[in-house]
């Protein structure tokens, strides 16, 4: 588990960001430390310089013979200031006159020296920085300051920075772990679901987080894909069952007929009639197969890539030219209202079949003499097609079912047809992203196909 947590991308990202942050912090600290140190020491040396100037001035302006005394007074005064880290020394030759340092070998200019009485370089920060000067040939003065306080402050600053760095490192590590744990948990949810589906639990879905982040969206898309796949699988299962059930009947009929011919036919004419009828039944079966195949292919959406603009008004007029004679023969007055020219993206052949099937349904299921209306147009920005008849209509309860495969209303069981006409229409509409609505035409059936 631990290594899995650390191996996640989110943890790796957190680690990289932490390193970058640490790097920039270190640079910042170095700069701050350098500036602080530099300005403190510059300040110190300026004060030392000021003191030396004062002592030198006191020495130079004193009455004759009082020079040394004035300088000593000045240093003694300075040393009275409380909490001072300042150190002073005034010596003539090797003899100390004033100050709080022991006499030493005179050395001029800026230099450091250890605090007397301490072992040099023990690292506790007690180092004196100062400046020595000769007031006369053998009169030497040194002014300096113990750097201990400065070093302490600087150490404190470094220490604080270190703490901040450590805290942010811990925070980043913890945050990275938390992040990667959350991430892992959700990825695990996805992999668990996928495994469950592979094991056959097709209904499983990825738990929805509700958050619109990348994993949430991925989950939504995967779920939608799973829904679609499941629907397809179920429809496939349904088709196989339907085929088994619905083709068994005509096959049984065919068998009866052939058996009857074998047992009872006496003349060549009898045999000829039986063969003729058997061929007709076979053709009917083949028609059903062809329709099923076609529905399957349409549902697979293979033709979508070939979609072109199809003008519905021209389509409707073409349908009229083809069907007018048939409808005259069956005495179904056809009224065509091709509305404004509306192009839809689609497959002309399939749309042709959609309209043809709807029209043929109207012809087959309505009594002679009743009119049929075929209309196309545009409403609310959507192209539509309407086929409306004045027949018996479809009871409201059956209106959803008629679009399903092999569903046939009881009263239409006796009329010829595969029972697939409307499901073919439904499949064609689906592939065109069109919606089919069956409504009451008072009386009759009104089929409205609205394109999106």
């Amino acid at each position: 588990m631990q290594t899995r947590l650390i191996r996640t991308d989110s943890f790796r990202h957190a680690a990289i960001y932490t390193l970058l942050f640490m790097g920039s912090m270190a640079v910042l600290i170095a700069i701050v430390y350098f500036i602080l140190d530099h300005s403190y020491k510059a300040n110190l040396l300026r004060e030392v310089g000021d003191d030396l100037t004062s002592i030198r001035t006191a020495y130079a302006t004193a009455r004759h013979g009082k020079e040394e005394h004035e300088a000593k007074e000045m240093i003694d005064d300075r040393m009275l200031a409380p909490d001072s880290n300042d150190v002073y020394l005034l010596q003539r030759g090797p003899r100390k006159i004033a100050g709080n340092l022991p006499a030493m070998t005179p050395q001029t200019g800026e230099f450091r020296l250890p605090v007397p009485g301490r072992v040099q370089g023990d690292g506790d920060g007690h180092v004196i920085l100062g400046r020595g000067e000769k007031l006369s040939k053998d009169l030497y003065v040194f002014v300096g300051e113990d750097l201990y306080a400065v070093n302490q402050t600087e150490r404190g600053v470094l220490y604080a920075f270190g703490l901040v760095l450590l805290a942010s490192l811990l925070l980043a590590f913890g945050g990275g772990l938390l992040l990667s744990r959350g991430f892992l948990k959700r990825v695990d949810a996805i992999t668990d679901t996928c495994r469950a589906i592979m094991m056959g639990r097709l209904g499983d879905r990825i738990p929805i987080s509700g958050r619109q982040n990348e994993l949430g969206r991925l989950g939504d898309v995967i779920n939608a894909m799973l829904d679609r796949n499941q629907a397809l699988m179920e429809s496939l299962k349904q088709v196989s069952t339907d085929i088994a059930h619905d083709l068994r009947t005509p096959l049984t009929h065919l068998r009866y007929r052939l058996e009857g011919a074998r047992n009872a036919a006496a003349t060549t004419e009898d045999y000829a009639a039986a063969v003729e009828a058997a061929i007709a039944e076979c053709d009917q079966l083949l028609t059903v197969f062809a329709a099923l195949l076609r529905i399957a292919q349409i549902e697979a959406g293979a033709r979508r890539a070939e979609f072109r603009d199809v003008a519905l008004d021209q389509l409707v007029e073409r349908v009229r030219d083809i069907y007018k004679p048939v409808m005259d023969d069956t005495r179904h007055p056809l009224e065509v209202r091709p509305g404004a020219g509306v192009p839809v993206r689609g497959d002309a052949q399939l749309l042709m079949q959609l309209v043809s099937n709807l029209l043929e349904n109207a012809i087959h299921h309505t009594p002679e003499g009743t009119p049929v209306v075929l209309e196309s147009g545009m409403e609310d920005g959507h192209a539509f097609l309407v086929v409306a008849d004045r027949g018996a209509g479809i009871p409201e309860a059956d209106r959803v079912n008629v679009l399903k495969r092999f569903f046939r209303q009881e009263q239409s069981r006796t009329t010829p047809g595969s029972g697939l006409g409307l499901s073919l229409v439904a499949a064609i509409a689906e592939v065109h992203n069109a919606v089919i609505k069956l409504t009451d035409n008072n009386p009759g059936l009104r089929v409205l196909v609205t394109f999106s």
Binding site: C282, P325, V326, D329, Q349, I363, P416
Partner: protein, 226 residues
């Protein structure tokens, strides 16, 4: 006609061979695509009948290969591949016609005859006038005359008659008419062809002693001169 049949299913091959031989054609059979290609290259045929799914080279590639070699022998695909785009794919590969299995022998024969007529007939360019006996069609003016009398036809009736006249003396099936006249790739469940045909007939044959357009039972329609 010399016909080469490329078909891996022996039973179908037998059915096709017998059917065509009865109508006076000579049929050679190649059971694989590579056999078919070799035979088609080796000798001169008037027509190839090709199954799309045959072992070796598949039918589509076979036809493409022949067309690339500039062999223009007419090809008819005879196949179970009845998908939405299969037909277009087959015709684009260079085939002259596409018939899906299962099929009626009369349908195959009608299509074989139609192809034979197209490739063997006039040859030089498209005719602008078609003539069958006393019937004359002017394809430019879109006019039809029978025995000097002009016959008024609707555009769809004209196309229907044109299709019959181009195959004069031979049966044209219902499916062929649906494909050629109305460009429908599905079988309508109503008597579209019959209704249009009866209108055409009443115009072409009304008032004449002899009916030129005849129904061929179990097959289709034909127009005849004599």
């Amino acid at each position: 006609m010399q016909i080469l049949l490329v078909e891996d299913d022996a039973q179908t091959a037998l059915y096709v061979t017998e059917g065509l031989q009865q109508r006076g054609h000579v049929v050679s059979w190649a059971p694989t695509g590579s056999d078919g290609l070799n035979q088609a290259r080796g000798s001169q045929y008037d027509l190839l009948i090709v199954d799309r799914m045959v072992p070796g080279i598949d039918g589509l590639r076979l036809v493409q290969a022949l067309r690339q070699e500039r062999r223009n022998t007419p090809v008819l695909f005879l196949t179970t591949m009845s998908g939405l785009d299969d037909r277009v794919e087959g015709l684009n590969a260079g085939a002259d016609d596409y018939l899906t299995k299962p099929f009626a022998m009369s349908e195959l024969v009608a299509r074989v005859n139609a192809i034979a007529r197209r490739s063997g007939g006039s040859g030089g360019g498209r005719l602008t006038t078609l003539r069958v006996g006393e019937l004359e069609m002017d394809l430019l003016d879109r006019t039809v005359r029978r025995g000097g009398r002009e016959i008024e036809l609707q555009p769809q009736e004209f196309k229907l008659l044109e299709c019959l006249v181009q195959n004069a003396g031979q049966a044209v099936t219902r499916t062929m008419l649906l494909e050629k006249v109305w460009d429908l790739d599905f079988d309508p469940r109503t008597n579209i062809v019959e209704s249009h045909m009866s209108r055409l007939r009443s115009k072409v044959d009304r008032g004449f002693a002899r009916e030129m357009i005849q129904t061929v039972r179990g097959s289709g329609y034909l127009i005849r001169a004599d």
